[in-house]
């Protein structure tokens, strides 16, 4: 337990230490100031604009910005769909995989375009190396870059005064890719290779094992895709077993690097926000809110998993933590990660929209599995996805000042911008779309044959499997209670639509909100202004986030994980 505390503590320190310089650097990148990478990247950037016909000097209204973002996503999705269908014809396919089936290809295209990276397929038996890199790794970069771009646009909307424009999508997209994602990926990928993550284009290795049987070991360009999978909070594994696979995550050090990479951009953007707002304390307030939610989640998950499975204890099996073993519920977990690093990873990956997993969430104890579910249900704003975490948190901050304003009977303000009817309508739209696209289809799934057919763990856990699937799809997470048999026409199509709604139906109102705030003038703070950079605001914000999620999701969660916990401790099996 004490080692667990030290691990979580050191990890938190590391994230904080990385987020500040990264956040300030991103602020420089997106306000077009000089950075140390300019000598290499400026010429490349200019070449890209020339080829693509982008005028970097011209800015866009929120409508133009949203249209550019949507068109770019649509083209990318079509490209990926085509690539999957035609991979039998394309190069770098040593295993001779055929084209991906239409419903699965559609699901995967929607999944990677929306930064979800839900995988209804097993990478090593479905996707060619070409599809993995040119199709999937490419989307890992641009879906993250597009999320960061929208977050930057929302910040501009908050900090600009009486402005008609919120930036240029093409410029933000390009700069997020070139200045932020690519350089970190290049270094990160090499460190991962050093630790043992393969990066090759070889055919799968045929091995005659020590005992004389044969073993086929899947290979591929893993490292280059692995690092952006975490950094871009994508989460789509090269292999079926994702980051629990020893080739994706071979050592405790790679695990630490992957964990920090998942949080880095989301945490950094809070400081980017503070810097661009000209008041770094505003950024720290959001950072503190996120840190509190993270620590509560991590603590709960580690506690629940360390307690283990009472059924195993009844057989006499040793689940106690000791010098010789981590103990706890080890089903679906790797020895090198044990309980602490597994439960920490499960928390971090669902605090953000990452969804990479280094242990199988489906095999978690009911309360241990409830933590990732709740993390997603509060909107993945605990540092959050690359970009989406910050804009999600800003919407909650606007809701919090609105509630504070109602309490004292004043027009609420945030960063000097009056929050009025139009802004509240857009914020509420953002907040309501999210549960609607989770609970409605999940409700349909639990009353239809096609939906129920997917359940592999009967009893209350079956409801958890379905609830988890639609929650992660709407939240664009991509982790899974992976037992759910989801590669069916029903799940492929409904989950794909939910992912698209969860991404774009939420990004558009948030851009409209940015546009609506940008045109406002700023009012100077007065004695009646509710300060949004102090402890009271942080507490209020945490409260609002938890209350909104509890009011929306508690009934469903009670019937799934909570009931399962109660029957588990009474020894009932299904």
């Amino acid at each position: 337990m004490s080692n667990g505390l030290i691990q979580v503590g050191l990890f938190s320190v590391l994230v904080t230490a990385v987020s500040v310089p990264l956040g300030l650097y991103m602020a420089r990148v997106f306000t077009d100031r000089r950075t140390f990478l300019d000598p290499i990247l400026r010429p490349l950037e200019r070449a890209i604009y020339r080829v693509c016909g982008v005028n970097p000097g011209s800015e866009q209204s929120w409508v133009q910005y949203a249209v550019s973002m949507l068109l770019f996503s649509a083209v990318g999705m079509l490209l990926l769909y085509g690539m999957e269908r035609l991979q039998w014809f394309l190069p770098l396919n040593p295993q001779k995989f055929g084209g991906v089936a239409p419903d699965l290809a559609f699901n995967t295209a929607a999944s990677f375009t929306t930064n979800t990276n839900w995988q209804a397929y097993a990478g090593e038996s479905t996707m060619s190396y070409f599809t993995q890199m040119a199709g999937l790794a490419f989307h890992n970069f641009v879906s993250a870059a597009s999320g960061i771009a929208v977050a930057i646009a929302v910040i501009r909307g908050l900090v600009r005064r009486a402005a008609q424009t919120i930036g240029n999508f093409w410029v933000d997209l390009t700069r997020a890719t070139l200045w932020v994602l690519l350089p970190i990926s290049v270094i990160g990928a090499l460190v991962l290779v050093w630790q043992g993550v393969p990066d090759n284009f070889s055919a799968y290795t045929q091995v005659k094992t020590v005992e004389g049987t044969t073993q086929t070991i899947a290979q591929g360009p893993v490292a280059s895709q692995e690092i952006i999978k975490e950094l871009g909070t994508n989460g789509g594994g090269f292999f079926n077993a994702n980051s629990s696979h020893p080739y994706e995550n071979p050592t405790p050090l790679t695990n630490l690097i992957e964990l920090v990479a998942i949080f880095a951009i989301g945490a950094g953007l809070t400081h980017t926000f503070g810097e661009m707002a000209g008041d770094r304390r505003q950024g720290w307030a959001l950072f503190a809110t996120m840190a509190i939610l993270f620590l509560v989640g991590a603590g709960s998950a580690i506690w629940a998993e360390q307690r283990g499975n009472p059924q195993f204890a009844a057989m006499g099996i040793d689940q106690r933590e000791s010098a010789g073993q981590s103990g706890g519920n080890m089903e679906g977990k790797e020895v090198r990660f044990g309980i602490v690093d597994s439960a920490l990873f499960a928390t971090v990956t669902t605090d953000t929209s990452c969804g990479a997993v280094n242990s199988m969430h489906d095999s978690y104890t009911p309360l241990g599995g409830l933590v990732p579910l709740v993390n997603m249900q509060i909107g993945e704003i605990t540092f959050g996805g690359a970009g989406s975490g910050l804009y999600g948190m800003l919407v909650m901050a606007i809701l919090a000042v609105f509630i504070a304003g109602l309490m004292v009977g004043r027009t609420p303000e945030y960063l000097g911008k009056k929050i009025e009817g139009r802004e509240m309508k857009l914020a509420m739209l953002f907040i309501l779309i999210f549960p609607a696209v989770i609970l409605v289809p999940a409700g349909i799934a639990v009353v239809t044959k096609a939906g129920l057919a997917g359940i592999t763990n009967p009893g209350p856990h079956g409801l958890s499997q379905i609830l988890y699937a639609y929650t992660e799809a709407s939240a664009n997470n991509g982790s899974a209670f992976a037992g759910l048999n989801a590669n069916t026409l029903f799940y492929n199509s409904t989950l794909a639509v939910v992912m698209l709604f969860g991404r774009f139906l939420m990004k558009v109102p948030v851009l409209a909100l940015a546009g609506s705030l940008a045109v406002k003038k700023s009012v100077p703070p007065s004695a009646g202004t509710f300060p949004t950079d102090g402890a009271i605001f942080v507490i209020l914000l945490v409260g609002v986030i938890l209350i909104v999620a509890a009011l929306t999701f508690f009934p469903a969660d009670a019937l799934g994980p909570i009931v399962e916990h109660l029957v588990m401790i009474h020894g009932k099996l299904y």
Partner: protein, 200 residues
């Protein structure tokens, strides 16, 4: 107009991040870390016997056994990585754990259930976990030593030499790489055989 820009931007960024970047990284990786980039393959007598990072099946009493595996039909299928994904209240999970415990206790007389660490009877997330906990290795020392005619101390020393500690003393959990340990056991047995032949 915007659509045309979107198409061009997609192609340019696809080439840059989806083709140039992965090809460059694979090139660099194979130049700087060729062993790791090719999958940390272990070669013995000119043939590949496995990967240092990927577990494999062991059934002989002369070897340490790894964890149960849900990858592929027979376990440790490194082209079909997977956990069991069985939930904590699933009968199938509880029954298989009970069966594994029974099998282990039968093969290791004198061991009681309360000595069996949980990782030895549960499937890993990847189905390819190359490691077992030090406690799981310790429990198998006596059986392996007996089957090989080695002293328990000899085997215990070998286990100790193959125990990986926490990174920086803090991160992760300690583990014992089963394949590397078993290869070292074979080496030790071979040296002792040679030693016996050459000694007067």
């Amino acid at each position: 107009m915007t659509l045309w820009t979107a198409i061009r931007m997609t192609i340019v960024l696809m080439v840059l991040t989806g083709i140039v970047y992965p090809l460059a990284m694979a090139g660099l990786a194979n130049l700087i870390f060729p062993y790791q980039a090719q999958g940390s393959l272990i070669v013995r007598d000119g043939r590949v016997v496995g990967s240092a990072l990927i577990g494999q099946n062991f059934s002989s009493v002369r070897y340490f056994h790894g964890r149960p595996s849900a990858a592929g039909d027979k376990g440790y299928d490194a082209s079909a990585s997977s956990g069991s994904n069985l939930g904590p209240t699933n009968k199938t999970l509880i029954q298989s754990v009970r069966q594994r415990l029974k099998d282990f206790l039968e093969k290791n007389p004198g061991v009681s259930a309360s000595q069996v660490p949980v990782d030895l009877v549960t499937a890993s997330g990847s189905g390819l976990d190359p490691e077992i906990s030090p406690a799981a290795a310790k429990l198998q020392v006596a059986g392996v030593a007996k089957a090989r005619g080695l002293s328990e101390d000899q085997v215990r020393d070998l286990v100790r030499a193959h125990t990986r500690r926490r990174w920086a003393g803090v991160f992760g959990e300690p583990g014992v790489n089963v394949l590397e340990l078993n290869l070292a056991l074979d080496d030790l047995s071979a040296t002792l055989r040679v030693g016996m032949k050459t000694s007067p």
